[in-house]
């Protein structure tokens, strides 16, 4: 199965092409959030290096968020349109899992929490744990305050590894938290997603059945939407888009 995997959820951009589980070629950039310039040229180059044609692809696997709204949208639009236009399978994988599943495998059963910075002391977080050859979800992906995450670790009283987009504020909060002895912060090189890992996760996953409906997992509605819903309880409609 010839797979193209795409992740542009945050600053890094990672693209890989694999044949089943075998990596053919991959490129990871960590330059900018301006992924629009690099996604398609990188895909074009990798597929050409492999000597493939676009039509040779069997499956597209995409990191579908959470992450930067624009970044996730570029990957999902590209992936969704490629799958549609080539009439091949599309698989979406949590952007947190791309990093978390890989790191958790190296942690010998110890839960691994991945965080993306969601601003204003909030994070997108998820936890994974490798047990008896299985990857379990220790914490379902969610948008939460960093405080709440630390409290959750404290309540569970389990030693965990943490990886992701830390800033100085997060580090300080960990240091001051009663849970700090439970937390091992992994270095930044663990936080770079690899599209090869993404391809492996997506290879055996169920493809999307309603391709047109496939959208990113933002894990957060827009501020405008939240304010409107607060002022108009029960008025939310099924769809706000119509053909004219």
């Amino acid at each position: 199965m010839k797979i193209l995997a795409i992740d542009t959820s945050n600053h890094p951009l990672s693209i890989a092409i694999t044949d089943d589980d075998q990596l053919i070629a991959t490129t990871t950039l960590n330059l900018t959030k301006n992924h629009s310039i690099y996604v398609m040229p990188t895909i074009e180059k990798l597929v050409a290096i492999a000597g493939w044609q676009p039509a040779d692809l069997d499956r597209i696997v995409v990191a579908k968020g959470p992450g930067s709204y624009t970044g996730v949208r570029i990957a999902v639009t590209t992936a969704k349109t490629l799958a549609d236009t080539l009439q091949i399978d599309l698989v979406g994988v949590s952007s947190l899992k791309v990093i978390g599943a890989h790191v958790a495998q190296l942690q010998a059963g110890r839960p691994t929490i991945v965080i993306f910075n969601a601003r204003r002391n909030n994070v997108f977080a998820a936890g994974y744990q490798a047990q008896q050859g299985q990857m379990n979800e220790w914490l379902a992906q969610q948008h939460m305050s960093f405080e709440d995450l630390l409290q959750l670790v404290e309540e569970r009283q389990e030693a965990v590894s943490m990886v992701g987009e830390f800033d100085a504020q997060f580090d300080e909060q960990v240091a001051q938290s009663p849970a700090h002895s439970l937390i091992t912060r992994l270095p930044a090189n663990y936080a770079i997603p690899s599209a090869y890992d993404l391809a492996i996760l997506g290879r055996s996953a169920q493809p999307v059945t309603q391709l047109d409906e496939f959208v990113p997992d933002y894990l957060r509605i827009t501020e405008a939407e939240a304010n409107w819903q607060k002022k108009h309880p029960g008025e939310l409609k099924q769809s706000y888009v119509r053909e004219v």
């Binding site: 398609m40 624009t70 590209t78 349109t81 549609d84 236009t85 827009t222 706000y240 888009v241």
Partner: protein, 337 residues
């Protein structure tokens, strides 16, 4: 190489997701338009992040429907045309990403199109273009007079210094309690009223072709609020008529002045606000009387708003002119001619 001259076009610069197939640059085989207007109405204007989210919900459905309705396959296509600016960056990126994916997947040339060129070429579905030519472009985001010496050459003679005409409509609409977008309702009210308030005609006397609507907007809002404070209710039809008369006067007079200095064979009226009946009627009457040799081409009502067919029409010309983008094409929110 496909033998038919078919362009697949994408447009997603604001709050409409649209995909179209156009033949020979002037025949619409399909023009699928998914509008988000009901969504943004809740917020009183387009919210960029909400718009981007809607675009990604619609893009592949619009693409598939456009090909289905046109009854063509990718093998029949000559090129993929895409709006890459101006517009909202997040919205543009959905269309640009999708268009690039399709172009790469099917080895098709990618043709970048300026959204404003698209608006002008909406008139190509009415008449063949003869040059030199001039266009009055009026929309929610833009108000421009554009001179075209030749096919696909664009020179801005004048543009708005503050609000676009469509923006001014929306702002005074908010004061009158008209839901976004206000243009159509104000236009209807204006037809039932008279210009009794004589709002200022901004920059009419200036020796350039630039526009300004902020003075008019302020005068309108002051008149309305002063009356409100006195406990008076002004006739909304007369208010609308007075506002519209002032906008139309400025747009038409600047255009006529430009026509005097730049003799052209055709004048094009296009853009979202070009659907305004007051503007259409007035421009028609004045141009016919003062410039009988100039043919006025009004973009069809259905194609005044944002749509991909107009991008296909412009894209067909851009394709013939050899304009191409590679896979690094990015959205250019501030793109100008």
């Amino acid at each position: 190489m496909a033998s038919r001259n078919l362009i697949l076009a994408f447009e997603s610069s604001c709050d409409e997701t649209s995909v179209s197939v156009v033949e020979d640059g002037h025949k619409i085989l399909s023009n699928i338009i998914a509008t988000q207007i009901d969504s943004h109405q809740r917020f009183g204007g387009v919210v960029p992040e909400v718009a981007s989210r809607h675009h990604i919900e619609q893009i592949t459905r619009c693409l598939d429907e456009a090909l289905d309705q046109a009854n063509v396959t990718y093998d029949d296509l000559k090129a993929v045309a895409i709006t890459y600016g101006p517009g909202l960056v997040g919205s543009l990126l959905v269309g640009v990403s999708a268009a690039k994916a399709v172009a790469w997947a099917h080895h098709l040339p990618l043709v970048p199109v300026n959204h404003m060129a698209g608006h002008i070429y909406a008139a190509r579905f009415v008449n063949e273009f003869v040059f030199p030519q001039m266009a009055l472009l009026v929309s929610g985001g833009h108000t421009e007079i554009v001179y075209m010496k030749d096919e696909y050459s664009f020179e801005i003679l004048g543009e708005t210094r503050d609000d676009a005409a469509g923006e001014a409509y929306d702002k005074i609409g908010r004061v009158l309690g008209v839901s976004y977008p206000a243009g159509k309702t104000i236009d209807e009210w204006a037809h039932a009223g008279h210009d009794t308030f004589h709002f200022p005609r901004a920059m009419e006397k200036d020796h350039n072709y630039d526009f300004s609507f902020s003075g008019l907007k302020s005068a309108f809002i002051n008149t309305f609020h002063n009356a409100e404070q006195r406990g008076e209710t002004l006739d909304r039809n007369d208010l609308a008529a007075s506002f519209q008369q002032s906008v139309v006067d400025v747009l038409v007079e600047k255009t006529l002045k430009a026509l005097q200095q730049y003799p052209v064979k055709q004048l094009i009226l296009a853009g979202g606000v070009a659907a305004n009946q007051g503007l259409r009627e007035r421009l028609e009457a004045d141009v016919t009387r003062q410039f009988p040799t100039v043919t006025l081409i009004k973009a069809p009502l259905k194609l005044c708003g944002d749509n991909a067919a107009m991008i296909g029409a412009a894209g067909e010309v851009a394709y013939r002119k050899g304009q191409r983008a590679d896979m690094s094409l990015n959205a250019m929110p501030g793109l100008s001619f």
